[in-house]
Structures are given as C-alpha cells and as structure tokens.
C-alpha cells in the first residue's frame, strides 16, 4: 500500500518507461502486421520473383535455369520487336491522352449546367467504363467489320469506299485508340464534373461583373485554371491506363497486321505465354513498370507543385 503510493508520487522509473514504449511498439507492429503481410504476399514477393526471373533464362516448364545477369536487358535494348511495340504504345498514348482528356472535359463542361438531363448523359457516357472491355472489343470488331459492320455499311451508303479499320496497318492504331478513348471518356468526365462542382459560383459571377462576356472568356479565366489539379490527375491516370493497353489488342488484332498494333503489354504477353521466354518477359515487365513509375513520379513531385495555389 505504502509502496504504491510512493510510486505514484515519484517520477516513473526509467525501466518502466522503456517497457511501456516497447509494449506500444509491439502493439503498433501487431496492428500493421496483417496489412504488411498482404502487401508482402501480393506485391513485394512477386516483384522480387520478377526481378530474379529477369536475370535468368527461365522458360515455362524448363527443368534447368541459368543465371544470365543483365543479358536480358542488353537484349531488350537492341530488340527491334520491343522498339516497335514501345513506339506503337507511345503512338497509342499520344492519341488517347489528348482525345480522352479533351473530350472528357468538353462533355463535363457541357453537362455541368444541365439540370434534368445531366444524370441521363452521365449514365450514357459512363456505361463504357462499367462494361467489360473484352466483351466490348468483340462488339467493336463486329461494328468495324469490313463487310458486315454498320460503320462500313454507312460509308458505303454515303458513297465512300470501305475502310479496313483493323487490317490496314495505317488505320489499326488510330482505330484502337478511338476505342480506348470511348472507354475512358466517361471516367474522365466524372472526374472533371467533380472538379467543376468544386469551383465556387461566386467566381463566375465576379467574372461576369468584371467583363467576362462569352463562354470562352469564362472558360479561360475561371474554369480551365481552376480545373488544374483535376486535369493533372486525369492526365496521369489516363496516360497510365493508355500505356497499359492490352485487351482490345489481344481480342481484335493480336498485334497485327504485321505487328503494326503490337503494344508493349502484348509483346510481353507473347514473350511470356506464347514463346515461354519467362526470363525475358520479366525483364520487359520491369521496363514497363519503370515507365509507369515515371508517370507516377511526375504526378507526385513535379505537377502537384505546379498546379496548386
């Protein structure tokens, strides 16, 4: 009884304080452990395996595997297939990015002030986002079919010749990009709509009094600058999504004709699961991840600072 009274009055002994801290640390680690385990199993371990595979000549089902060091990466640098698929991917991104961002913004601005019809249009434009792209790709294949498809039917009816959208090397990437835009526009529109509703109405009224006569004035003075953060986010997510294009290529063109639609992810898929060069595919995947990382870093460090005020 006496001892405990003294203990309360006196400062807490050093040993007890240390024990307290240790218990707190253990408890903290305990709480973080399940999440860490999940991260380890689903992300970090596969990444480590990928890294290891990229240094080997492992082939699916092979019995012995040799360690190659950086040979796979050396090969990748000079590989014409990789170079072509990278170029195709960049062309694809270069079309999809401005298309999906610009159209998404345009639709959002048009819809923002509508009252009754807004929900209807939102649903219509958002539907492609919710649908399975592989299934939709099949539909697109039919729509764009040279003989049976309605698009070419319409072109014929208007007196133009047929266009082989998916088998003409010059058209195939723009066609795939158009489908990519169709799929992304709804999502971008929703993001832009959220950004638009965050702009205070007062600003538009002040601008109106200050002499912003036309819609263009209002857009340039208020809307566009204040959508900066949203636009940045949309650009980053769109470019990463576009960079990851795979489904439409796999279903509709299989990289053809003559590799003119072979994109990075499809090239990796071919190496890994068609030719069973797992080691080389792992090296290509790492290169792919490096690009995605680059986009993310761009967002985190450069643009976050530029757009916020």
């Amino acid at each position: 009884m006496m001892a405990s009274a003294v203990a309360i009055a006196a400062p807490v002994p050093v040993v007890r304080r240390d024990r307290q801290r240790l218990i707190e640390k253990l408890a903290g680690c305990g709480f973080a452990f399940p999440a860490f385990l999940l991260l380890l199993l689903t992300n970090l371990v596969p990444l480590a395996v990928l890294l290891y595979l990229s240094f080997t000549n492992y082939e699916l089902g092979a019995l012995d595997t040799r360690f190659l060091g950086l040979d796979n990466f050396r090969k990748a640098v000079t590989d014409p297939v990789l170079r072509r698929s990278l170029a195709n991917t960049f062309v694809y991104v270069a079309i999809v990015l401005p298309g999906a961002v610009g159209l998404g913004l345009l639709i959002a601005v048009l819809l923002h002030r509508r009252k009754r019809t807004r929900t209807f249009y939102e649903v219509v434009y958002f539907l492609p986002v919710t649908s399975t792209l592989i299934a939709m790709a099949t539909v697109w294949q039919f729509i764009l079919h040279p003989n049976l498809g309605p698009v070419n039917g319409m072109l014929r009816a208007m007196g133009f010749g047929e266009i082989a959208f998916l088998s003409e090397p010059a058209y195939v990437l723009p066609t795939l990009a158009a489908i990519g835009i169709w799929q992304l526009v709804g999502f971008n529109m929703v993001l832009f709509l959220a950004g638009l509703s965050a702009i205070p109405r007062d600003l538009y009224e002040a601008a109106e009094i200050d002499g912003c006569r036309s819609g263009i004035d209002r857009f340039l003075t208020i809307t566009w600058p204040l959508l900066g953060p949203t636009t940045m986010f949309v650009i980053i997510t769109t470019s990463i999504t576009a960079f990851k294009v795979f489904d439409t290529v796999a279903v509709m063109t299989r990289g053809g004709p003559m590799g003119s639609s072979e994109v990075l992810l499809y090239a990796i898929y071919l190496e890994g699961y068609q030719y069973f060069h797992m080691g080389y595919a792992a090296a290509l995947t790492l290169i792919f991840l490096a690009f995605v990382l680059l986009f993310s870093i761009l967002q985190t460090f450069v643009l976050e600072r530029r757009v916020h005020y």
């Binding site: 009224e205 109106e208 009094i209 200050d210 002499g211 912003c212 340039l220 005020y309």
Partner: protein, 425 residues
C-alpha cells in the same frame, strides 16, 4: 456616379415570392444600406441590381435609363462579394486588373502565348498597371501585388476585392455583406474605412448587411427589409427614433427594444398592466397593442418613488452585464407587471439594485413606441390631459445616494434634490 432606381421589382423562385413590389430610389453619391434578417431578400435585390439575377417583373434604372436588358458588366456597377470571390489562381495584380484587361484587350490579346504577338497589348498593359498601382496605393496594398489570395489575410483580401471594384470607376458600388467574414475587431475598423472611402469617392454605394450596427453607422439612409418588402426607408436616426414597424423597432438597436403587451382602455387611453398611461390611441377600446420602450429610456429609482409624468413599473434585478462604460441590467418585472426588461445604466447602480425589496423602473409614456396588432406604428397617439400628473414635487424627496432620473444636465448633480445624475438618453 449614378442614381439607381428600382421600379416595383418583384422576384419569385419557382412560384415562391422572394421580393414583391420593391420601390427604391438611391440618390447619386448616396450610401444606402439594405438591412434585414437572413432570407429577407436583400441579397437577391442587390443581385438583381447587379444583373446577376433577372427580376420577375419591374425595372432597374441607372441614371434614369433602364438597364434590364444589359449584362452585368455593361451596367457599370461593381460588386464586392461576401466571400470576396477573388480568383485564387491569379496574383493580386491580375485580380484587380482583370476588369480593365477584359474591357481594353480583345480576345486574342488575352489568349495565352498568342497574346505575346500583340504590341498593343504591351502598351495597354502598361496603362493598366499604373491604374492598378494607383488603386492599390490608395488601399495600402501596393506591397502585395505579387501575392496570391491564399497568401493574404482576411482584411487584405477584403481590400483586394475593393480594389477590383474601384479600378473600374463604376457608377455604383454594390456590396453584399462584405464585412461578415472578418473578425469583430477588423470589422469595426473596416466599417470606418468603407465610410471614409465612400466620402472620398463620392460614388453611390448600395450595401447589404444583416448587421444593424453596420447599417446605422455607415449609411446615409437605411432600408429595412423583411419578407421581400421594404418596411421602412429613412436616415438611421429615423429608424431608431420612429420605427414604422414593430419589426424595425426590434431589429434596430442593441440591446433590443423592450416590448410590453398593452391594450386600449375603455376610456381610450393605453392601458399597461392594468394602469392607464396618459397617452391615447385612436383605436377601439379593448384592442391589443404592443408598447416598445428603448433600454436607455428607462431610469431606475428606489421602490416607491414617483415622478410627475413618468410611469412606474416595479421590478427586481435578475442579472447585470458590465460593458465598461455602462451596465446592462436584466430586470424581472414584479406584480402587477410581468416579463423581463433590459435597461442600460451608466455608472454605479449598486445602491439601487442591492435593495432586496426591488426597484422602480420609470419612463416617460411619450417615449414609448406604440404598435398595433399587425405591428404597424400607431402615430396618432396623443398625450392625455395632464390630469394624471401627480401633484407632489418630484424633488421633494431627497434621493441621497441614489440616482436622480430628472437631472438638468447629464453628469451634473440635480439641483433640487442634490442626487447624482442618472444617464440621460
């Protein structure tokens, strides 16, 4: 410089009327305040004047010409918003200069990059810069030109918003609760500054506020609004001394006016808690009315005091609030009267209020504001014959340490009785 007239302006939102038949004539160079509780339609009215909201019917005239068909920027009015509505992505310079850039540069001269090609732009921008600098110097924010609104304090933002309005030399300034986002101390300061700015510019100001102190202190005239109509327009003193409506009386003045239920007696005079006051109201006997007494119109005296011409109500102190120069006393009325009265007293009231038996509240019946059941002021009250005046000399009683309610001059001891002076209104 402009005269702003409103001709029977009405506005309804989806069938719900917010303004009905507003008539207002704001003289050139006048500082007119629209005051009222929130939701009374004052902001809608100023937005109609600005052109941000179309009226359902009626007409807005600026300098005698209807402006109903004109867009906001064509009306030559500037507006200061409650939120200031500064452009967050622009620096102070661009925020203030925007109205000039919009009116003096064409679309190509404002487009990013393309504008670099214009030589005229450079010349115009130099002009604009000197004008912006002149305005910012006046407002003492010339050191802040390169800042963004997020880097400014509330008071500085307020000045930028003012600068943006001033730089155009508008015909009229419209201000929608511009001070309500500032802290109390700064608000008092900006009140003075705005009033001085108005004196300096000599431009018409139309000012919206829910704060009656702002309305009373700054304006040439005040229009008190309620429920979409203007209850009373007049000089601040008029609204205080002769409120046309019970709502005006309640809204204007802190602490609020004391209201007591009264009725017309069978003899035709005003009856308060069973006692007849020496004032008559030309209303049928028995009709109910409300008597308003300003807190400073009441004087305190020891229980049992009576004064010629003054009416007495017995009461007991509930609590007192010390405001420094004066005390705000909350007094519960005791039988036959009931209710609570607030009155303000300068100086020491302890000797009076410490009396546990209670104290007497005295007021001149003529200082009362009388309102009928609908809340309209009854103007045709008249003093009844002097029959009710007590014969005893008011100063016959020595007041001793208590306050004399009838001193010849505020602050001086009363000559007849020698008592210290109570505050006179």
């Amino acid at each position: 410089m402009a005269r702003v007239e409103l001709k029977s302006i009405s506005k309804s939102f989806g069938g719900v009327p917010v303004l009905s038949g507003i008539e207002l004539d704001v003289a050139d160079g006048e500082f007119l305040t629209l005051v009222g509780a929130s939701g009374c339609g004052k902001s809608t009215l100023i937005r109609i004047i600005a052109g941000l909201e179309p009226q359902s019917s009626g007409s807005v005239l600026i300098n005698g010409a209807p402006v109903d068909h004109l867009r906001p920027h064509e009306r030559q009015v500037a507006m200061v918003f409650q939120s200031y509505a500064l452009y967050p992505h622009m620096r102070v310079f661009a925020n203030i200069g925007l109205p000039l850039m919009m009116s003096r540069l064409n679309l190509f001269e404002r487009l990013p990059i393309i504008r670099m090609l214009s030589a005229r732009r450079r010349r115009v921008m130099a002009e604009i810069e000197s004008e912006v600098r002149a305005v910012t110097k006046q407002l003492q924010i010339d050191a802040l030109l390169e800042r963004r609104p997020s880097q400014l304090s509330g008071g500085q933002r307020q000045r930028v918003a003012l600068g943006r309005a001033m730089v155009r030399h508008p015909a009229a300034f419209l201000m929608d609760e511009p001070l309500s986002n500032l802290d109390a101390k700064l608000r008092v300061h900006m009140r003075t500054e705005l009033a001085e700015l108005h004196d300096r510019l000599g431009t018409t100001f139309i000012y919206v506020t829910h704060d009656q102190v702002e309305a009373m202190t700054m304006s040439d005239r005040v229009a008190m609004m309620d429920n979409g109509t203007i209850l009373q327009i007049g000089r601040p003193g008029d609204l205080y001394m002769r409120p046309a409506n019970l709502k005006v009386a309640q809204f204007i003045g802190t602490p609020a006016i004391n209201l007591l239920p009264a009725k017309v007696s069978s003899a035709g005079s005003v009856e308060l808690f069973g006692a007849e006051l020496p004032i008559r109201a030309r209303r049928p006997a028995g009709s109910a009315m409300t008597l308003g007494i300003r807190p400073e119109a009441i004087t305190l005296a020891p229980l049992g005091t009576s004064r010629p011409g003054m009416h007495l109500l017995p009461g007991r102190l509930r609590r007192s609030e010390n405001l420094g120069p004066e005390h705000m006393l909350h007094i519960d009325l005791t039988s036959p009267a009931s209710g609570t009265i607030i009155c303000s007293v300068a100086g020491d009231h302890e000797p009076l209020t410490s009396d546990s038996r209670g104290l007497a509240l005295l007021f001149m019946p003529s200082a009362c504001h009388v309102f009928d059941v609908e809340g309209h002021r009854i103007d045709d009250v008249e003093a009844a014959s002097a029959a009710a005046a007590p014969s005893s000399d008011p100063h016959a009683r020595a007041f001793g340490a208590t306050l004399c309610p009838l001193p010849p001059k505020a602050g001086e001891p009363c000559a007849p009785c020698g008592g210290p002076a109570a505050r006179t209104s």
